[in-house]
């Protein structure tokens, strides 16, 4: 069994290469091996599409948690981030992350090797599919960065940080953990992070943490006495739809990280993922109810996300019984985290807790719950504490958390520090008051809510003189309001 994410993907690629002569002779009909390979790619591409849909989930979750004056901005941000992210991932990100020639970063595979002769060969179709799947992961990690910075960051910061993050920061982490030759695969018998609790989620949340330290809280978040005040999001239905779309996308995120349909492992991973999510909902609901005696909608949504983030690393390594427990603890962590962080740091969507703290917990949870059967099945690391593996794997997981956090934090802090020193990180106070929709995008996300009807064309606009229309006053017909 190949050991790494890329190892498994490489096997996929080799299969394709070997198949080339077979397809040339395909007049004889499809071969069993060929159909199996296409089945693998079919599942990988379906998963790719599901993970792409998570962008919609992030957009709606963040828009729901923003005030109505910052609603359109979320759409502009997601579109531009995903577009720049895709371009950079194609150009350098993927080569840096998944080429196996370098110790820290890859040295080949830029532009997929299609347009240059750098590594001499072009990627096959299945290889391009793997590239697309990993692109979705990188851009999910990027999307996580911005929830914390809502309602006050300059749009220019998205453009610059997207380039640095997809071009350097994320590839460094992905190379260390997933390329098969990175530093984290040489710690112990390898770091277990099946789909990215630390690689994707902790990375995004750590960059968000660096951003918010330079950015500061939204105007009015902290009173003169320094106490935090609630700035309620404008739409709980949008938030809820975002959470449920993310939940659906996560089946591709974790389930797709099998890359193949071998032994139907992906089915087991999807079921385990679901049990993590429900654990998160139940844990968060219980804790916020105990604390406030209210069934807070936003916290329940955060709970689902935290459960999903927590089960992301263990989803291929733990048995079903462990999943709701891992999710439940994630749900408790996210509520406690949001309540604690809110006292000092303004995180409008709770991403630092849901992706950061729950990501740390999920990564460590492998060291507790990984079963010997599944560790052997995936071929990375050892059984966790509860399966007689002792504390070794837990220590390995802790190393991954520390390396990821400090590496990403330092690079992100340098980037955001430079952005702040040059173009500036934060909009002006007037722009923040009026909202980013009108200040940066020229129109409110909900124009009728902010512009009086008499000023909107077509509603109460002046009647053209001499048009022959008689005054409605005194006319027999009723005038609708």
């Amino acid at each position: 069994m190949p050991k790494s994410r890329l190892g498994r993907a490489a096997a996929l690629g080799v299969l394709v290469t070997l198949l080339l002569p077979a397809t040339a002779l395909a007049q004889d009909g499809p071969t069993l091996v060929g159909v199996k390979d296409e089945l693998n790619t079919t599942w990988l591409m379906l998963a790719t599409c599901l993970v792409f849909f998570m962008q919609a989930g992030f957009a709606l979750l963040e828009i729901g948690m923003s005030r109505g004056k910052n609603a359109g901005m979320g759409i502009a941000k997601i579109l531009i981030n995903f577009s720049i992210g895709s371009l950079i991932w194609w150009a350098v990100g993927y080569g840096f992350a998944f080429d196996t020639a370098g110790e820290i970063l890859g040295t080949h595979g830029f532009f997929l090797g299609n347009t240059t002769e750098i590594n001499g060969e072009a990627a096959g179709a299945a290889g391009v599919g793997f590239w697309a799947f990993q692109l979705m992961f990188a851009t999910v990690s990027l999307a996580i960065v911005w929830g914390t910075t809502l309602e006050r960051i300059k749009f220019g910061a998205y453009l610059i940080f997207a380039v640095v993050f997809i071009g350097l920061i994320y590839p460094l982490v992905a190379h260390a953990a997933w390329s098969g030759v990175g530093i984290l695969s040489r710690v112990g018998s390898g770091v277990q992070d099946f789909a990215g609790s630390s690689v994707v989620h902790l990375t995004g949340a750590t960059a968000a943490f660096a951003a918010v330290l330079f950015l500061g809280p939204r105007k009015g978040k902290y009173g003169p006495d320094g106490k935090p005040r609630a700035i309620p999001g404008h739409s709980m239905p949008l938030l809820g739809l975002g959470v449920l779309i993310l939940w659906l996308g996560w089946f591709g995120f974790n389930g797709g990280s099998t890359f193949t349909t071998d032994s139907n492992k992906f089915a087991e991973v999807i079921a385990v993922t679901n049990m993590g999510a429900i654990g998160g909902v139940l844990g968060a609901t219980l804790l916020i109810w105990l604390v406030s005696r209210k069934l807070d909608v936003g916290m329940m949504g955060n709970g689902a996300i935290a459960g999903l983030v927590a089960i992301t690393a263990p989803s291929g390594y733990v048995e079903m019984w462990a999943a709701p427990i891992i999710g439940f603890v994630g749900g408790l962590i996210v509520v406690a985290g949001v309540l604690a962080i809110d006292k000092k740091i303004d995180d409008p969507v709770g991403a630092l807790s849901a992706h950061g703290l729950a990501g740390i917990w999920g990564t460590l949870a492998c060291g507790l719950f990984t079963s010997d059967r599944l560790a052997a099945d995936v071929g990375v690391g050892k059984a966790g504490l509860f399966y007689g593996g002792g504390l070794e794997q837990l220590g390995v997981q802790a190393v991954a958390v520390l390396v990821t956090f400090f590496g990403v934090f330092i690079l992100s802090a340098i980037t955001f520090g430079l952005i702040k020193a040059t173009i500036g990180l934060r909009v002006s106070e007037e722009e923040e008051d009026s909202g980013l929709d009108i200040a940066e995008h020229g129109m409110y996300g909900y124009p009728e809510q902010f512009i009086p009807a008499p000023e909107l064309i077509g509603v109460g606009s002046p009647r053209p003189l001499g048009s022959g229309a008689s005054s409605p006053i005194g006319s027999a017909s009723e005038v609708p309001a």
């Binding site: 020229g442 902010f450 512009i451 009086p452 008499p454 000023e455």
Partner: protein, 123 residues
């Protein structure tokens, strides 16, 4: 009795309300309104077409107080609402004929505020 009507910027409201509360004037009403004045509208681009929005959002405060409290209210509003730029708003003072508290049917100045002076003047 006087009705103080003020049109102010949104951000001025909170400090005004806090100070009035401290001084013993908790009873007031606000309305979110749009209005025009010497403050220019904003022109924006929507899909490449320009849109001008002349009516700017303001907060309208309505507060009924006894005659001798009127200046306190007006001073508090002026103190916090003034930035010195066009668009700070205006304050109007209007006479009020009578006031009734619906819950008890009482009438007169003692129904207005909890300010001790107002209560004392009524008795």
């Amino acid at each position: 009795m006087k009705l103080v009507v003020a049109y102010i910027r949104h951000e001025a409201f909170e400090p005004i309300r806090l100070e009035l509360l401290e001084l013993g004037f908790p009873s007031l009403t606000i309305i979110e309104v749009k209005g025009s004045g010497r403050q220019k509208g904003i022109t924006e681009q929507y899909r490449g077409t320009s849109v001008t929005n002349y009516l700017r959002p303001k907060i309208k405060i309505e507060c009924v107080v006894s005659d001798h409290d009127t200046q306190t209210i007006v001073d508090t509003i002026l103190k916090h609402a003034r930035t010195g730029s066009i668009g700070d708003g205006k304050v109007f003072v209007l006479p009020v004929e009578q006031a009734y508290r619906i819950r008890t049917g009482e009438s007169g100045e003692e129904t207005l505020q909890i300010h001790p002076d107002a209560a004392a003047a009524a008795t």
